[in-house]
């Protein structure tokens, strides 16, 4: 076993379920949670009591996607849950389960809530992941562990919890909660679903890129990645568009351009010939509206951004661009113009941002171009790789020789060489 280094400084702990899964009843969920805690108290000098009041020591909630604790969930499969170690701070004892899982109990299908809860409560009590063969604290989901009242912790975990809190005293407490009276029957047949095929951020081309509140959002299909102002990628896995931006059509497969309006900080999504306006993450009523509202007579746009030097919105389509004045609500005269006025820029860009560093970045395919503060000519040395400089991807490793040559001229060399290198 492995310990986290922090323990509860008391042996009587309270618990509470703050939210519930859709696939199990509230009563069953509470029974399984109470029983999962009991597996730990049965072997140690710990006691648990359910409370309906706020401020419980161990708080269980079913949440989905990004939920502001640095451990975003990723839909069905993948990550199932996590819990915070004991200690100071508001997160201590918080136990989160991925609401997108199909939570079940003691059946082969779905994800067994009891098994995952026992594991996560091990973290809540101060245990880290174990590599021991039969430990419940192995990081990988191992399927159902059977009927919850019969379950006993494996020896490695018993040693771990007793090292932290001591052995149970001579007078055991109350029995485990009774078993649920009915077994859960999955509503939609087999619930096993493979992990969704996320786009690979290291090889994909992005549909749209936007600077929203100082963070750069990279959109691809129904997913997006976020890069903070410090250039830190918020998560290596993308978030689902519909889990964050509420109100886009569920059948929308991609967005073409996104930008934050200069005059009111609302966020505009463009897909095909339509656009939506968001206040924060919620769509405003009355959308979608047609792009003709902007005076655009195209079938769509490739990119859009607000240039910080004049607060005007630029729309790009193929080899032309337009300039829109949000305050006046109309297109500036003299547009469209040829996009090659931005020197060094290819046509048909994927999108454009004006970022907090003052520079303008154009994205196309796997590359991007940087235009220095207010300049209309690309910096020398560009384009650079989006994957390497924005997406935390490794450069491709050079091929390894298949056979070690013994010396120049002594023997024929059998190496894998780059094509065309002779």
């Amino acid at each position: 076993y492995a310990v986290s280094g922090s323990v509860w400084q008391k042996s009587h702990l309270t618990w509470r379920v703050d939210s519930f899964p859709v696939s199990l009843s509230q009563e069953t969920t509470r029974q399984l949670i109470g029983s999962a805690l009991y597996t730990w108290s049965r072997e140690s000098n710990l006691h648990f009591e359910e409370t309906r009041a706020g401020g419980a020591d161990i708080r269980v909630s079913f949440v989905q996607g990004s939920h502001d604790d640095g451990y975003p969930f990723d839909g069905p499969g993948g990550t199932l849950g996590h819990a915070f170690f004991p200690g100071v701070g508001s997160s201590a004892g918080a136990t989160h389960m991925d609401a997108d899982e199909s939570w079940t109990y003691n059946v082969a299908e779905g994800t067994d809530l009891f098994a995952v809860a026992v594991h996560e409560f091990g973290h809540s009590l101060g245990l880290s992941h174990s590599s021991a063969e039969n430990s419940i604290m192995k990081p990988y989901y191992q399927g159902t562990v059977g009927e919850h009242r019969r379950y006993r912790l494996p020896p490695d975990d018993v040693q771990g919890i007793q090292a932290l809190y001591g052995k149970r005293s001579a007078h055991p407490g109350a029995d485990a909660p009774p078993a649920p009276t009915q077994r859960y029957i999955p509503p939609r047949g087999p619930t096993y679903r493979p992990r969704l095929p996320f786009p690979d951020r290291c090889s994909t081309h992005f549909d749209a890129v936007a600077n929203i509140r100082g963070e750069v959002f990279f959109f691809k299909s129904r997913y997006f990645w976020r890069v903070q102002a410090t250039r830190q990628l918020v998560s290596l896995n993308p978030a689902h568009l519909g889990n964050f931006w509420l109100g886009l059509p569920p059948d929308l497969t991609r967005v073409d351009a996104v930008y934050e309006r200069a005059n009111d900080s609302k966020i505009v999504f463009i897909a095909g010939g339509n656009y939506w306006v968001f206040k924060d993450t919620l769509v405003e009523p009355g959308y979608p509206r047609p792009l003709t509202d902007f005076g655009l007579n195209t079938d769509g746009v490739d990119g859009a951004f607000v240039w910080k030097h004049n607060k005007k919105t630029y729309f790009f389509r193929h080899n032309r661009y337009w300039r829109f004045d949000e305050r006046q609500g109309r297109m500036d005269p003299g547009y469209p113009r040829d996009s090659n006025l931005w020197l060094g820029l290819p046509s048909d860009v994927d999108d454009v941002i004006s970022w907090t560093d003052g520079h303008t970045y154009f994205f196309k395919g796997p590359q991007y171009w940087k235009f220095q503060d207010g300049q209309v000519e690309a910096d020398p040395g560009y384009p650079h790789s989006i994957a390497l400089n924005w997406m935390y991807c490794a450069a491709a490793a050079p091929p390894e020789p298949t056979q070690e040559p013994e010396g120049r001229g002594q023997r024929d060399c059998n190496c894998q060489c780059p094509a065309g290198s002779g």
């Binding site: 986290s4 451990y71 969930f73 499969g77 993948g78 990550t79 199932l80 849950g81 996590h82 819990a83 994800t111 995952v116 594991h119 996560e120 973290h123 880290s128 992941h129 590599s131 063969e133 990081p139 990988y140 989901y141 992990r195 690979d200 290291c202 090889s203 410090t230 250039r231 830190q232 990628l233 290596l236 896995n237 935390y392 991807c393 490794a394 450069a395 491709a396 490793a397």
Partner: protein, 87 residues
Amino acid sequence: SRPSARDLSSGMDWLTRYGYLPPPDPYSAQQQTLDGLRDAVKTMQRFAGLRPTGILDDDTIAMMHKPRCSLPDIILASGYQRHRRKR
């Protein structure tokens, strides 16, 4: 078989997320060495009960795709220590 570039990339993501590789440092351009990657794969294989070859083989990739807990396996990430030293 040799891992594809995609497997290698997602494997490195996985190893970083679960504490086997240090997180990328946005303030330096230091890249991961092949030796470092091999050691990280070995540690992960040992932890998962696989043969510690250091090779990102099919069994290892399959293990990386198994449903699991979100918390890292190796808690003492070097990134944390690095920032501690800097302060």
